[in-house]
């Protein structure tokens, strides 16, 4: 029986290598794109958490303005971030 894959001669190594490398690189690129998207998402979450932590601390100190995207106030700057947040982040 004339199966097409059997009838097709095996490609020489240098030519087949391009296709094999192509397939594995495509897979790797897809995984990397996904991981990059997830990293961006996690960075956004981390940034928002930082803002909320700053807001919570401000509120504890008697200020009431809500920070971040939902408020008219500008987002809190890093200088207003709760003390020790950077140290805690660097410990993780």
């Amino acid at each position: 029986m004339d199966f097409l894959p059997l009838a097709a001669p095996a490609l020489p190594l240098d030519e087949a290598g391009k296709y094999v490398a192509g397939a594995y690189v495509v897979f790797l690129v897809l995984v990397l794109i996904y991981v990059a998207i997830m990293a961006a998402k996690l960075q956004r979450i981390e940034r928002e958490l930082k803002e909320l932590a700053g807001f919570a601390e401000n509120r504890a100190n008697g200020e009431i303005a809500a920070p971040g995207r939902g408020s008219e106030e500008p987002s809190i700057s890093d200088s207003l971030a709760p003390r020790g947040a950077e140290e805690a982040a660097s410990d993780v």
Binding site: A8, Y19, A23, K41, R59
Partner: protein
């Protein structure tokens, strides 16, 4: 909660992928007919199996959601399908590259295995606009679950139909009377399958962890009365 065990799972995945690649390129013998190009088999087939199992898993989670009404099952179902669609893209691309190298064509329309996988993939590609189209979160979750159950049931039926179909093009390497895969190739294939399964599981867990964190953040914002314009992702179910 979802992040628990993510680190050991990630390490296991990296180890399994390294083992699979080592076996593929340094242990498994060259195929007598296809030569070096057959190495794509150890990537393409495990990806396809894991993607199809992921679609079925999405259907099972959807059943659990419909039975219990718990939103977390809908989130599991959504993430399982989402990840399987990504794996599906990889299956189609690596399959096309293999087809071009082996058969001289990027795509063969009269080959049932290829076309049936494309049909399954396109069916699941409609899952996203279907979810997007429904505003109410409860209805969105319920309708998406019904979709996932129906589509999930279609996957094994489709697989069986293809196996029953007489094909002259696509090689059958498992359970054939002419011998199937030799031991070394089978071992490499099984390790590759394990690696792809672990990768799928790790990415699902990562996605669920991110969604859980995002959901907790939204709750926190609501709790401190700072409304979030846009409300975050509309399609992605909230995981708390």
């Amino acid at each position: 909660m979802y992040g628990k065990g993510l680190r050991p799972l990630s390490i296991a995945t990296v180890v399994a992928i390294a083992a699979a690649l080592s076996l593929t390129f340094f242990y498994a013998p060259l195929d007598a007919d296809q030569g070096f190009i057959q190495k794509i088999f150890y990537l393409h087939v495990p990806l396809a199996i894991v993607a199809l199992c992921g679609f079925v898993a999405g259907g099972v989670f959807a059943i659990l959601h419909l039975r219990s009404g718990e939103r977390r099952w809908d989130a599991y179902s959504y993430v399982a399908i989402h990840m399987s669609v990504i794996f599906g893209v990889a299956v189609l691309v690596t399959g096309s590259i293999w087809a071009k190298a082996s058969w001289g064509h990027w795509w063969v329309w009269d080959e049932p295995t290829l076309v049936s996988f494309l049909i399954v993939f396109l069916m699941y590609a409609t899952y996203y606009p279907f979810r997007y189209a429904i505003e109410d979160p409860e209805r969105q979750a319920r309708y998406a679950s019904v979709f996932a159950v129906t589509a999930g049931a279609f996957v094994p039926l489709n697989f069986m139909a293809v196996r029953l179909a007489e094909s002259l093009v696509h090689p059958r390497v498992f359970a054939t009377t002419s011998g199937g895969l030799p031991g070394s190739m089978m071992l490499t294939f099984l390790v590759s399958l394990l690696a792809m399964g672990l990768l799928w599981l790790t990415l699902v867990k990562l996605e669920l962890t991110a969604k859980s964190a995002s959901g907790q953040l939204k709750r926190l914002r609501r709790a401190i009365d700072a409304p979030l314009p846009g409300g975050g992702s509309r399609i992605a179910p909230e995981v708390s």
